[in-house]
Symmetry: C2
Amino acid sequence: MKNIDFSDVNITGGFWKKRQEVNREVTAHAVYERFRETHRFAALACTWKEGEPDMPHIFWDSDVAKWIEGAAYILKDGENQALTDIIEDAVDKILKNSDENGYFNSHFLVTRQNEHFTHRGQHELYCAGHLMEAAVAYYNMTGRDRFLKAMCRYADYIEKVFKIEKSAAFTTPGHPELELALMRLYRATGEKRYAELSKYFIDEHGKHENDREDDGLFNEYYNQDEMPLRDRKTAEGHCVRALYLLCGMADVAKEYGDGELLAACRRCFDNITGKRMYITGGVGSTCVGEAFTLDYDLPNRTAYAETCAAIALALFSGRMLEFGAEGRYADVLERALYNGILSGVSMDGRSFFYENPLEVDPAFNDRNTSTVQKEHFPITQRVEVFDCSCCPPNILRFLASVGNFLYGVDEDTLYIHQYMDSEAVLEDGTLAVRTAYPADGKILISCRTAKARLAVRIPGWCESFRLNRPYELKNGYAYVTLTGEDEIEVDLEMPVRLVRANRRVHEDAGRVAVMRGPVVYCAEGVDNGPDIRSIAVAGDGQFALLDSEFLLPALRTVGYRPKETEELYVKDSDDYEEIPLTLIPYYAFANRGTTEMALWLLKK
Amino acid sequence: MKNIDFSDVNITGGFWKKRQEVNREVTAHAVYERFRETHRFAALACTWKEGEPDMPHIFWDSDVAKWIEGAAYILKDGENQALTDIIEDAVDKILKNSDENGYFNSHFLVTRQNEHFTHRGQHELYCAGHLMEAAVAYYNMTGRDRFLKAMCRYADYIEKVFKIEKSAAFTTPGHPELELALMRLYRATGEKRYAELSKYFIDEHGKHENDREDDGLFNEYYNQDEMPLRDRKTAEGHCVRALYLLCGMADVAKEYGDGELLAACRRCFDNITGKRMYITGGVGSTCVGEAFTLDYDLPNRTAYAETCAAIALALFSGRMLEFGAEGRYADVLERALYNGILSGVSMDGRSFFYENPLEVDPAFNDRNTSTVQKEHFPITQRVEVFDCSCCPPNILRFLASVGNFLYGVDEDTLYIHQYMDSEAVLEDGTLAVRTAYPADGKILISCRTAKARLAVRIPGWCESFRLNRPYELKNGYAYVTLTGEDEIEVDLEMPVRLVRANRRVHEDAGRVAVMRGPVVYCAEGVDNGPDIRSIAVAGDGQFALLDSEFLLPALRTVGYRPKETEELYVKDSDDYEEIPLTLIPYYAFANRGTTEMALWLLKK
């Protein structure tokens, strides 16, 4: 199966049209302005001198590159001179300041010209990868190829240094990303050497002593060197590194038909999504190393669940889906999409979370009253820019290209993986999907194609659905025979439901999450008053759908709140007051000021 | 009211006789051996030279002093040449090596002879205080006064330096303890100057810039300097420092009839016990600064709840009780006694906890798989010695003198605060109490005294009781008229009960603690299998009392454990299995190897 590229997909209405509008009209400009103000774009000019302020940081190029990639995707929606000018100016600078051998890095070029490829932990290959992705994106969207050609030269140089001469101080990327970027470069150019280089890195990971640069703090798990990749059974260490690497592994596995590598990808996918993933699709349980920890270790208030990690999980899930239509991959993608990714950006598109906790208890975050050494808790309000600002442009490029994940084709079947109101150009026809999903579960599909079958995904959360055609259900997809020109109606029942976690997730014991369709809900203090963790939702609760300012309905039900007591410890009783309990989509939390929030609620 | 000193009380049977036997026969020797092996006793010889190993640590004198104090108390149980020889040898060394001015500190004398009283944070006055307490104890138990006299000279020197000449680099003790010690020295010697010096320190705390020694890490709250003591409304900072200081404040308030100081003590007591105390009587919610944090911030798994802090809370509660018989003070003392203090020592008396968490989840304590920078979790098994070994000898001296807290007298009333099988010599008669408490609530009191009334405490946890005499209930005490020679029966009903925390304690939301009498119970994995946090206790549960190896009965009831599922997130259901749920006294947790433990349990 092959996904239909978002360049052949138009999102035409509903939830995602609105989110993409905000992404295009607000986020693209807001992130650019912050990056401009913080000298990230200026750094490309490579004019910084020792002693000046604002030394280019080792990861700034990746920030700019992701912004360029996102802005390029937005060009799909129509000519945009403002974005084009910015991209062209950045490309001018990159081309002008690249070394003759193709090398470009706005940090090393001005700070350590003699130390290229000597520090594995310092993001050179990571930045290179993102620049390549940006170049591919800009080329794909516009046909302009000077950036792409420059990045090919850079890739050629990396091939020379790392694969041919083996003259670098290390063997594989410290922060993986280049692996997947090289596969994109290969697909954009048809130059097989880039796929070979990606495969080379994938083959060599975890085999080299010189890759175990000891920074004294993080170990081989953090650095993705714990073992050769084909031996992996679990996802370890720095979460985004692990997932970008898995994307590269999946790409190489597909290109080379590498079953062993695919099996490792599957094992890691199962480990992550079966034992190490928040219900939001967030991953990475700890800020210490931004890392995976242990199976079932999923604390809520201190969840790291970096926005980039949820995006990376979606990217990985999308790739796994291409190995064959299995609903579970699309389910995970959808879970991340509507929850742990969208929570990373404010409703107005201007502000961002790096960490996405599943519980906020602001009163206690400053609990270290006696010391300047504060424990780390996630921030409680999104901000416009971070020093380490990987997430904002990642959101930008991801939302701009979310159409990538909707449709797929193989020899005889057209697949619908995600439901968005949209139209697609097929190789042999057209497809139109009309739906308010996930506001409700009604989907009207009109397709004109020579494919014999349409496969519509029946989400894992869906217990009851209706189709206006006979169908065969297999691996989470309902297969319908096509006649050339078809109108198919799908109705996914979408009652509010209570979900509980595996009993090994001790943090969530005795608690339930409220979901409707793919959307996880949460309760905020601003709606429900204090002590949210003490409020129980009715186990057999009826939920009313309310209009909300968050694109999807809010929920209203009866909650039970223990009566306030003076004493610290009292004899247990059933002394509760009934309150109207309002729940909003988790992605919309923290849009109304700092307030308590809980996702996992008690059940009465 | 005045407490009857434990030297006039014999514990004759039951729970406490056994705990004191272990304390005397095992703990005293085990702690001594560890201290000997770690050179703490040898350090008193002051022979260490620069470059040698085992430099005396700044707090070693306090460890030795607390051991001497505890060993001295044990001498009450009969002649004990072994303990006496150790004490005498230590005293020899202290006397021999004291400076002419009376100064003794085994660290500063050999490392920084010219820096006495220049580093407020380095425990000199804290060690001095413990040495004084030890000297008072040894004098009180044996009448031998050479140690006492030496410590009087030391106190005189401190008075000269701090109060008369004001030549020290700081004004008040950095780690309070001397304040209460000076009051004990005053009571042992009748020398009012020591009380005056204590009052001086109490008066000066929080008023001096030179006391704000900035160590770059901890602030004025940690160092007990945030404000003058009479202005205090809350207990802040380093928990043991705060509570030792409150003991000194209470002592001075009583001696001088200082209502303002007493009011500050009461406010702090109310703040601590009403908002910052674990159900075990443990205090100090964080390891960061070993400190109080914020009202209702009481995490269980990372509770610091230092053994010394629970002891200090008991000492403070005992002092507050002397201002008038209010049951709530004795209730807190009892809560700490049977739970957060006793949990500090293993059943065999050999091993100790410094931290006393209310939940242990060993599988997740090593969650930082990708880094060498591990998060701190309390250890899961008691150990024989710590580098910072304040708790083991504190347990020793506290348990040896627990008889201090049983009885009190004022002009016309004899008070029974705590129930232990014991006999007491009164000024005008005798008292015998026969009971298996807290194994059950039956208490037989025989007293011969000229006092007009007996006041027996009816614990706050007790909802129903019986007395074989007419009584008047006031502030948690039942007052009975005495006739000169009386036999009084008290029967405190002691059903197992479920207790919940104030809804503001978000950590405990939806959970209950199981208690019987003053004893808090917990569930361990070794009895109940994994995922203890997921097991619910029946809300209307019947509890059977089982014989146990822990001096008090274990409890058996029905528990509900969610069925194991493969999936990480599943639709909520009531798919539970009934299991026999065994609970043991909290103080006995971690006596059978590393295993899960939870005190706050779900309720079905």
